[in-house]
Symmetry: C2
């Protein structure tokens, strides 16, 4: 007896959903069924949003953040401060903006140095970074990269690249706000200790 | 200073993804960015699969399983056995088919009795079930409903509805295969005890 399965179009939808990050086979099946059956679902709206976003959204040629015009909303802004925050990914911009602590512009590298994954300086938006530092009269470049080995290596590489051109800083490392000592790992504690300030 | 956010079309995509079951705000953002940026992503294919599935897939008018033709693949099959397996949802059909243990046809109720959620007998595919039992000359109706309070209530209701028309059975309750006694809750143990068989 031939095995009964979902109609082919349901199977294709499940396959597409399974490819999304963080969605396993069972979630993909649940989401597909929900999309096809739930009265509140709107698969046409999701399909439309996908198509629109794909057509409209590009990378800002200056900084690499998401843009729908010739420049992104940050680069297009007339009076951001003359500081530059270097981040790995365009998605790192939003948390910075939400914190409200930084009022300059951004530069998204598009990744970080990772010899194991064959990510070399040529793969990052570094030439553009040097050009911006040379041309934009910046008062400071803040390296807001991950606090892990690859983030540190990338930060060191960029520090060397920009040395003498501009003041360079890195985000502080230490205890997360609200986190007690008992939850901090040894390295975080060591960094928090090294970076201690007068009280 | 106006707050910078994602372009509107990215925001709409995140909103649509957030509405899917099991997808929170952070996953929705991660998936949207992945769809727009990852070289392996194919948002057009996902949009296409959504549109195709939505256009093609309907409910089988006989049993409620997914169909793309006038009947589903099970009802359309010429020689399934004369037994009927009553399940809550069309998604319950696939696990049964995969187990290979059942070779009859299905009847998907479309839910189960749940006074708290305002699901009454009128909301379930019950009239069709009675008609099939009267017309299809079935040897047995197997109630494969959830082993919880609402599943049991639904099974009792259907048993009363079909009494005298046909042989009626329910799936056994007991220890899951591979599960030791130490993992079984008291009620499952009680059911396994009640349903014990000669060895």
């Amino acid at each position: 007896m031939a095995r009964i399965d979902y109609p082919e179009s349901v199977g294709s939808l499940v396959e597409q959903l399974k490819a999304l990050p963080g969605i396993g086979p069972r979630s993909a099946e649940r989401i597909a069924i929900w999309l096809l059956q739930h009265p509140k679902s709107d698969p046409a709206a999701l399909a439309g949003a996908l198509t629109t976003a794909r057509e409209e959204v590009t990378s800002c040629p200056t900084c690499g953040f998401f843009a729908t015009a010739s420049q992104c909303a940050v680069c297009d802004h007339p009076n951001r401060e003359k500081t530059l925050c270097v981040v790995e990914q365009p998605t790192d911009v939003l948390p910075m903006e939400r914190s409200g602590v930084f009022k300059g512009r951004y530069h998204c590298l598009g990744g970080r140095l990772s010899p194991l994954d064959n990510v070399t300086p040529d793969d990052l938006r570094l030439a553009g970074l040097v050009r911006r530092v040379d041309e934009e009269g910046l008062s400071e470049v803040i390296l807001a990269l991950g606090a892990d080995v690859e983030g540190e290596a990338t930060a060191s590489y960029i520090s060397d690249l920009l040395r003498g051109k501009c003041r360079i800083s890195r985000l502080a490392q230490g205890l997360p706000v609200g986190g007690g000592l008992e939850h901090a790992d040894a390295l975080t504690l060591a960094r928090a200790f090294e970076g201690r300030r007068e009280h």
